[in-house]
């Protein structure tokens, strides 16, 4: 464990949006300097900090609870407040206005204080203080109430309304409209932002503690590029990772939330290593468009030997006349119909030249479609298997229970099943994406290595998967073998991911050029031609 990770000196860097995730730190044996970036002092959730010897495909990240984030916000507010000489309430507004870029805020505040205050909704207006009071001859512009002893409130902007209306307004904003950080004065066109002192006066502590704080924290995370909410349903954690959008071509930043969900920090989709975000997006779009159509076309149609129009034979004889180019051919042998001579409607001429040439052409035009389907079917297969893995996982739990009772093994001794099941899920997830990735790979030596790695992993996974089908009483005898296979699977996965990640980072990836990708995607739609 690198002890620098918890160092106090690096707290400032949490804010520093420009600190780079150093790509060169990716090597598994590189000496990581914990002071570099992204450390947040005073947090307890340090169980997710970088492991020693980070793998090439792993990125550094941390997981924070809403409480951590709230505490960190107030810490920053206190700090900046003393620098600017503004009360904490106003400082909080300023920081939110500056999207928590402390340095830039301080700099521009020193430079042109008036302007910054005005833009943040804090411009000074002498003589008014924010407090509740009764005003003689007052009539509220919102409810038209004009009782003598009406309590009224105004912020420094001087737009005064009765307390009831003000309260109603604020709770409406917070409860129904989900606003918090940038609620403005109810007055028409008034830019003044409601500060926390005014909120204390007007909004019940209940609402402030629950909804308001939650909303503030949400804005905070949304405002910062290095923070993202875990997308898992009902998960409350946020993840801090310094990988920038511009690095996403070369890094696949998979992070693991404390809730157990693994996702990509770049696009927040489920973990899709080794394929980079842009390919994932491309691939998903393509599959969404037409995988089923492509399957159907592949199974039920042929192309006209002359004009390549896709033709479905939905009945009738083998004598085909292309609707488009009027070419007449035989559906069976694809040869020119006129050459069939007298043997009409009974094709037995497989060896004829024109037929075999036409079939060759056919095969060629089918190639790219078949290529796509090759990768798609394997991708879809692993996706399906990954779904089944969820069932397996539940079955595993039952198996572990019965194994404990039948074989007299202890709880700890049956944990190998859970480990195996987890490894299986992880590996299938990776395998799935290797096929999408491979679709976009050029053919060269590196691709061969990649495919070897893919094959090794796939074989290991299928072997392990098979063992789960064994009856429960056989499992205890297979324990050692299963543990071996589990660690072998994991090892193969690490090798594959490391290798791919290193190539990707080094930029010597074997990915196709963008134009080639387009070509490929287009070619596998024969109906587009």
């Amino acid at each position: 464990m690198d002890s620098d990770m918890n160092s106090i000196s690096s707290e400032d860097d949490f804010l520093d949006q420009d600190s780079d995730l150093s790509l060169e730190q990716g090597d598994a044996d590189s000496d990581f300097d914990g002071d570099e970036d992204g450390d947040m002092m005073g947090f307890e959730s340090q169980d997710k900090i970088m492991k020693p010897g980070r793998k090439a495909y792993e990125v550094e990240f941390k997981v924070y609870s809403p409480k951590d984030i709230q505490a960190y916000q107030s810490k920053q507010v206190t700090e900046v407040s003393s620098i600017l000489g503004q009360p904490p309430e106003a400082t909080a507004i300023l920081l939110r206005y500056a999207r928590w870029n402390k340095e830039r805020l301080i700099e521009s505040y020193m430079d042109k204080q008036e302007e910054v205050l005005e833009a943040a909704g804090l411009s000074e207006n002498e003589g008014n203080t924010s407090k509740i009071k009764k005003v003689k001859g007052f009539s509220c512009d919102i409810c038209c109430e004009d009782d003598e002893d009406l309590d009224t409130f105004a912020m420094k902007c001087g737009h005064r309304y009765c307390v009831d209306c003000y309260k109603h307004y604020l709770s409406q904003k917070i409860k129904d409209e989900g606003e918090a950080a940038r609620i403005k004065c109810p007055g028409d066109d008034c830019n003044r932002v409601v500060d926390s002192k005014s909120l204390d006066l007007l909004v019940s502590t209940d609402l402030q503690d629950s909804r308001y704080q939650e909303l503030l924290t949400r804005t905070y995370v949304d405002d910062k590029d290095n923070l993202k909410w875990c997308p898992a349903p009902n998960c409350v954690f946020a993840v801090d990772c310094s990988v920038k959008a511009r690095d996403l071509e070369r890094i696949v930043p998979t992070v693991h939330c404390n809730c157990g969900h693994g996702f990509c920090f770049g696009c927040t989709l489920n973990d899709h290593q080794p394929a980079p975000c842009s390919l994932v997006k491309r691939w998903l779009k393509k599959c969404e468009d037409d995988s089923e159509t492509a399957n159907w076309i592949s199974a039920n149609t042929k192309e006209c030997p002359r004009c390549n129009s896709t033709i479905e034979k939905n009945g009738g004889c083998n004598h085909m006349t292309c609707r488009k180019c009027r070419h007449e051919f035989c559906w069976m042998c694809m040869g020119v119909w006129s050459e069939h001579g007298t043997s009409w409607y009974n094709c037995n001429r497989f060896e004829e030249k024109s037929g075999s040439e036409a079939r060759d052409a056919q095969a060629k035009s089918r190639q790219s479609l078949e290529r796509y389907l090759h990768y798609y079917n394997r991708y879809a297969n692993h996706e399906q298997s990954a779904k089944l893995d969820r069932d397996i996982y539940q079955k595993t739990e039952r198996k572990m229970m019965s194994l404990q009772t039948t074989s007299g093994m202890s709880w700890i001794e049956v944990q190998f099943l859970e480990a195996a099941s987890k490894a299986l899920q992880e590996c299938r997830q990776t395998l799935k994406w290797t096929y999408a990735f491979a679709f976009y790979l050029a053919r060269n030596n590196q691709t061969m290595i990649f495919e070897d790695n893919q094959k090794d992993l796939e074989m290991a996974v299928e072997n392990l998967s098979e063992m789960f089908e064994k009856p429960v009483d056989a499992l205890s005898d297979l324990k050692v073998e299963m543990m071996d296979k589990t660690s072998y699977c994991t090892k193969r996965r690490v090798i594959l991911l490391t290798d791919t990640a290193e190539n990707l980072k080094a930029g010597k990836g074997n990915l196709l050029e963008a134009s080639e990708m387009l070509e490929l995607e287009r070619n596998s739609y024969p109906w587009d031609e």
Partner: protein
């Protein structure tokens, strides 16, 4: 109820005095009002025409903006042509949206804003994508996320 009290006061005030070209057609309850507006100058797009506005108030009015749309009736057979008014009567105006609404606004000020929106308009056209929007939109005006990009009309 706050909405009723405020609307009562507004109505009282409007019955005493109304700006030219704006008239209350019906205000029998505190939920739905109808207001007619006319453009006062001789803008050829709207000359000699009257348009009917339907105001729909929630119990949270005026904290919440009312829902305001143009409607067609036998006496007001047209939705005014305007690049921010869809042919189904839905109006794209920041004043009527959460962000632009202030509880200080009222029925009269909304009607006046719309009147001047028409007066200042020189384009005899509908918003881009009008047909598509009218065919597909199933949302109520307040739930639509308009983006207010055009401050020229």
């Amino acid at each position: 109820m706050a909405a009723a009290r405020r609307l009562g006061k507004e109505l009282q005030k409007m019955q005493n005095h109304m700006p030219d070209g704006i008239s209350v057609v019906s205000a029998d309850n505190f939920e739905i009002w109808f207001i007619d507006i006319k453009v006062l100058d001789d803008n050829p797009i709207y000359r000699d025409q009257t348009f009917r506005l339907k105001f729909h108030f929630s119990p949270h009015y005026p904290i919440e903006a009312p829902e305001v749309t143009f409607v067609i009736t036998p006496t007001t057979p047209k939705i005014p042509m305007h690049p921010h008014i869809y042919s189904n009567g839905i109006i794209c105006l920041d004043l009527l949206d959460r962000q632009g609404w202030s509880p200080v606004h009222n029925v009269e000020s909304i009607a006046m804003s719309l009147q001047s929106m028409l007066t200042g308009n020189e384009k005899d056209e509908r918003p881009p994508g009008d047909e598509d929007f009218c065919r597909r939109n199933t949302l109520r005006p307040r739930d639509i996320n308009f983006s207010f990009h055009d401050n020229t009309v």
